[in-house]
């Protein structure tokens, strides 16, 4: 499966997922409809009706859901910091053989 690693690094080691700002989110659920990777989960009966369910399904560096978010409630980690971290992990992997 292509999703288990990204650039040879275990996906689990890469911190890349949307963060929901619940002060802005109006539960329109456009992000849920949009994301084909089932990153989000709707919880109709809970107070917080939207959560990040499958963070590792989120495509590293993709921020498309934040682009379609009307209330601008989704944010992502810094791309440069993430790239740097991936480089570091790859170096660690190389030096560990």
């Amino acid at each position: 499966m292509s999703e288990t690693t990204f650039m040879g690094v275990e996906r689990d080691k890469i911190d890349w997922k949307p963060t929901i700002d619940y002060t802005k989110c109006d539960y329109c659920m456009e992000c849920v409809k949009f994301c084909p990777h089932k990153v989000f989960e709707v919880r109709e009966t809970e107070d917080i009706k939207l959560i990040i369910r499958n963070a590792n399904n989120c495509v590293v560096f993709c921020r498309a859901c934040s682009k379609i978010c009307g209330p601008d409630a989704l944010s992502f980690p810094d791309k440069n910091a993430t790239t740097q971290r991936i480089r570091e992990i790859r170096k660690e992997m190389e030096s560990n053989g």
């Binding site: 499966m1 292509s2 999703e3 990204f6 650039m7 456009e30 949009f34 084909p36 495509v59 590293v60 560096f61 993709c62 921020r63 498309a64 934040s66 682009k67 379609i68 978010c69 009307g70 209330p71 601008d72 791309k79 440069n80 993430t82 790239t83 991936i86 480089r87 790859r90």
Partner: protein, 285 residues
């Protein structure tokens, strides 16, 4: 403005950004050569506005990321020549918009910036300055899954990131684009938002957007560098990305900053071909 426009603002009156879009459209139409398209009246007066849209290139002013005006133009089969999103412009110029629907100091400052930008800035689109250096035909390996055919160029100078974008490198210059996997998944591409000429792009930074009726795709640059040209043809004919995303549907050209370093996080044909086969299987079963 370089051209006279048919201007379609989002006109959303329940959000500050919508009110700003309306105000900019009104100001631009103080030039009598520009004509406004009212998104509300468009629903019942289609012939009137189709005629206006047929006369001029279309400028779409979206308020927020919901992009109702862009969606309306797609619904009406209008080709977008230029598009701005108010909330994006506010972020770019570090202007915080209020929730008040009245236009105050910040909102008026942003209106002036956007209006001046549209009025005074030459459209900085150039054709490739090094067009002859880039091959126009690639050799491909093909993978078929059901009715979908995915091609991947085999040339050694072409590299990929795992975000399904390719880069073709010659010396310190590169041409970039999306792969067949992207265009097949998006289906009919309706418009392309190019990066700005002169923009400095980090590796994995955003280098434009393409959008279909199904989805929006942020182009994730395989390389770092300065944008030196964009493919002007696909601004007018984004369907070329569907027809051939590697040749006539290329996206932009960059002057490379540090390709040797970028290369560490790129993959060649063999690896990308395996990855794309797995992705296609995941999507199509």
């Amino acid at each position: 403005m370089v051209e006279n426009y048919a201007i379609l603002p989002c006109n959303g009156l329940d959000k500050c950004a919508g009110v700003i879009s309306r105000e900019i459209a009104i100001k631009l139409c103080e030039n009598p050569k520009n004509e406004i398209i009212c998104p509300v009246y468009y629903r019942v007066a289609e012939a009137k506005y189709n005629k206006i849209a047929g006369k001029h290139p279309l400028l779409v002013i979206d308020g927020c990321q919901t992009r109702c005006a862009s969606k309306l133009s797609a619904e009406k089969n209008l080709k977008i020549s230029r598009q701005v999103t108010i909330t994006e412009e506010a972020k770019k110029h570090k202007i915080e918009l209020g929730s008040n629907l009245r236009l105050l100091e910040n909102e008026n400052a942003l209106i002036e910036i956007i209006q001046n930008g549209l009025n005074n800035t030459e459209v900085k689109v150039t054709q490739s300055s090094v067009e002859t250096s880039f091959l126009v035909k690639f050799e491909y390996e093909t993978y078929q899954n059901g009715k979908f055919i995915f091609r991947v160029p085999k040339n050694q100078e072409v590299w990929f990131n795992e975000n399904d974008c390719w880069v073709y490198v010659i010396g310190n210059r590169a041409r970039i684009g999306v792969t067949d996997f992207v265009q097949q998944n998006l289906s009919d591409i309706l418009y392309f938002t190019p990066p700005e000429i002169g923009a400095e792009i980090d590796q994995f930074g955003e280098v434009g957007e393409i959008e279909s009726s199904k989805s929006v795709f942020e182009l994730i640059s395989p390389v770092s560098g300065k944008v030196i040209s964009i493919n002007e043809t696909i601004v007018q004919q984004p369907e070329l990305i569907n027809e051939n995303p590697y040749e006539s549907g290329w996206i932009a050209e960059l002057e490379l900053t540090d390709f040797e370093s970028d290369k560490e996080l790129l993959i060649g044909f063999d690896k990308y071909f395996e990855i794309v086969k797995n992705k296609v299987k995941d999507v199509n079963g």
